[in-house]
């Protein structure tokens, strides 16, 4: 039994997790940095503790400080949210060592997953299609030339332990060895500094690919069920902006194939908890394994809307040792859901826009149950410059895609935000784009369709 959970994160996801804990009768402990001390979501928890200065390294990434609070508060489990330390095996180990439950996969499993090459190797051993490239770190730039010769360009150089859009270098044409060496060296340096590993692997770029990911739950008895797919092809700087489920391109046969890949891989890894496997779908309809996200994802509400399953509740139950109360055939999908992320950024340039929220009015979600808003933004509140620019997630549900888009647009248009800039206009420009409406999207959609310059017009 879990009675008290410490949430090692900040912002909307803390408030989201507290809601489920309240429903389950579980007490909550929140940690916050000096920059978040006045945020009202902090007061939603039963207990709250300051863990340091605003800089993430001194607070939300400060394992020692968080573990001290864990011991002091006597919380019996830790929910890490997403980002920060959510996939950090060292943190998970420290939590377990202090006698608490880690709400997520076993630290040893997390440690394996930290290496993308480990995942690529395991996936290919299990006969999952993996993007062409290397399945282990390369030794010299000679390997890049070899791969280019066999599969062509463009290629991506990626850090084995990279993440969050960091540590990716695209190669559009073959460079001379001096330039290539410089690129390789600089990427290795970034890796050593940011991820304590300079290992680099090579992957072929799948052009006009669609990003399709599968949400799964796995219990300690190794039962794995899939909660459908999410399509997240609308991205900028390798970060998602719009996510939806189901995807318009995934046929029932393809879905079953993705579920089978996912179950095979997760079962073999002995993964427990909730997680996501990301795949790419090329224009011919072939799928490639990309990576595993060993955490709750930002876009999980999309799946919650169409399956009516509370993913956070499932995470907590699995961590407590409960068996999944349902099997694959009990999971049903109803209607269509779309999430749109509002960032505190200039809608034309996507440059950051921190500051005080002078005025804020949110769309109604009490009468309108087809709209969900996950946000802790408040009038008079501060959007600090030290963290992710995510301002709000707006999620809509409709009986079909068209109605979900309409509900989402109406929701976005009724936002009033003053004091900071937000990407609402850019989000609306995408939702109004004929190609988006037709479902004709891919991961380079935003850069090709110039939705940003259209945001000026709308």
């Amino acid at each position: 039994m879990i009675k008290k959970i410490l949430i090692a994160n900040r912002g909307e996801i803390v408030s989201r997790i507290i809601k489920t804990c309240n429903l389950m009768g579980i007490e909550t402990v929140v940690v916050y940095s000096e920059a978040d001390k006045d945020a009202s979501y902090v007061k939603q928890a039963n207990e709250s503790y300051c863990i340091g200065a605003p800089s993430p390294i001194k607070s939300y990434l400060n394992i020692e400080s968080i573990v001290t609070v864990l011991k002091k508060s006597k919380a019996d489990a830790v929910h890490p949210g997403y980002g920060f330390l959510s996939e950090n095996a060292g943190f998970a180990k420290a939590v377990v060592a202090s006698g608490a439950i880690w709400i997520g996969p076993d630290p040893k499993v997390l440690e394996n997953i930290e290496s993308k090459c480990y995942c690529r190797k395991l996936a290919s051993e299990l006969d999952l299609p993996v993007t062409p490239g290397t399945i282990q770190p390369i030794e010299t730039i000679r390997d890049i030339y070899n791969i280019a010769e066999s599969v062509g360009v463009p290629l991506m150089l990626k850090l084995d332990k990279g993440g969050g859009g960091k540590g990716i270098q695209r190669i559009d044409e073959i460079q001379d060895s001096k330039k290539m060496q410089a690129m390789f060296d600089s990427l290795q340096r970034v890796g050593v500094m940011a991820f304590a590993s300079g290992d680099v692997y090579v992957e072929k770029v799948i052009e006009r690919a669609r990003h399709i990911e599968v949400q799964f739950l796995a219990d300690q008895d190794q039962q794995v069920i899939c909660l459908g797919e999410r399509e997240c092809s609308i991205q900028r700087r390798y970060q998602k902006i719009i996510e939806e489920s189901p995807s318009v391109v995934v046929s029932e046969t393809e879905r079953q194939r993705l579920f089978a890949y996912t179950k095979k891989l997760i079962h073999t890894m002995r993964y427990t908890g909730a997680g996501t496997i990301e795949y790419l779908r090329d224009i011919e309809g072939s799928y490639y394994f990309m990576e595993i996200n060993a955490r709750l994802q930002v876009e999980h509400p999309v799946t919650e809307y169409i399956t009516k399953i509370d993913i956070v509740e499932q995470q907590i139950r699995i961590a407590a040792g409960e068996k999944l109360a349902m099997q694959q055939q009990d999971v049903s999908f109803c209607g269509h859901a779309i999430e749109c992320r509002i960032y505190a950024e200039d809608p034309e340039t996507f440059m950051p826009s921190p500051g005080i929220i002078r005025k804020l009015s949110l769309p109604d979600t009490i009468i309108n149950t087809s709209l969900r808003i996950d946000s802790v933004a408040e009038e008079g509140g501060n959007v600090p410059p030290y963290y992710d620019p995510l301002f709000a997630k707006v999620i809509s549900w409709g009986s079909d895609r068209q109605s979900a888009i309409e509900i989402l647009k109406t929701g976005l248009m009724s936002f009033v935000v003053e004091g900071i800039k937000t990407t609402i206009r850019a989000d609306l420009a995408i939702l109004n784009h004929p190609k988006f409406v037709a479902g004709d999207i891919h991961t380079a959609f935003l850069s090709e369709e110039h939705c940003l310059s259209q945001a000026k017009l709308s």
Binding site: P54, S55, K58, P385
Partner: protein, 72 residues
């Protein structure tokens, strides 16, 4: 004469790319700040010599926080 490089935006010091005593040209990048996870380059408006570095990695800054002092 002295010239002070100030933070163009609030955020964190991602890195300082020059050392004290180094001579720099106008427009050269002296530091990079991280605002909401986006890295923003901070070039100098004047050429000169780096006299004093006033900030350290991951320091928090407001707009116009002095970062680097140049002798120009």
């Amino acid at each position: 004469m002295e010239y002070t490089l100030k933070a163009p935006m609030p955020g964190l010091v991602a890195r300082v790319v020059v050392v004290e005593g180094e001579s720099v040209t106008e427009g050269q990048e002296l530091a990079v700040i991280n605002c909401m996870k986006i890295e923003i380059s901070c070039p100098t408006g004047k050429r000169g010599t780096v006299k004093k570095i006033l900030v350290g990695e991951w320091d928090e800054m407001d707009v116009d926080t002095p970062m680097i002092l140049l002798e120009v």
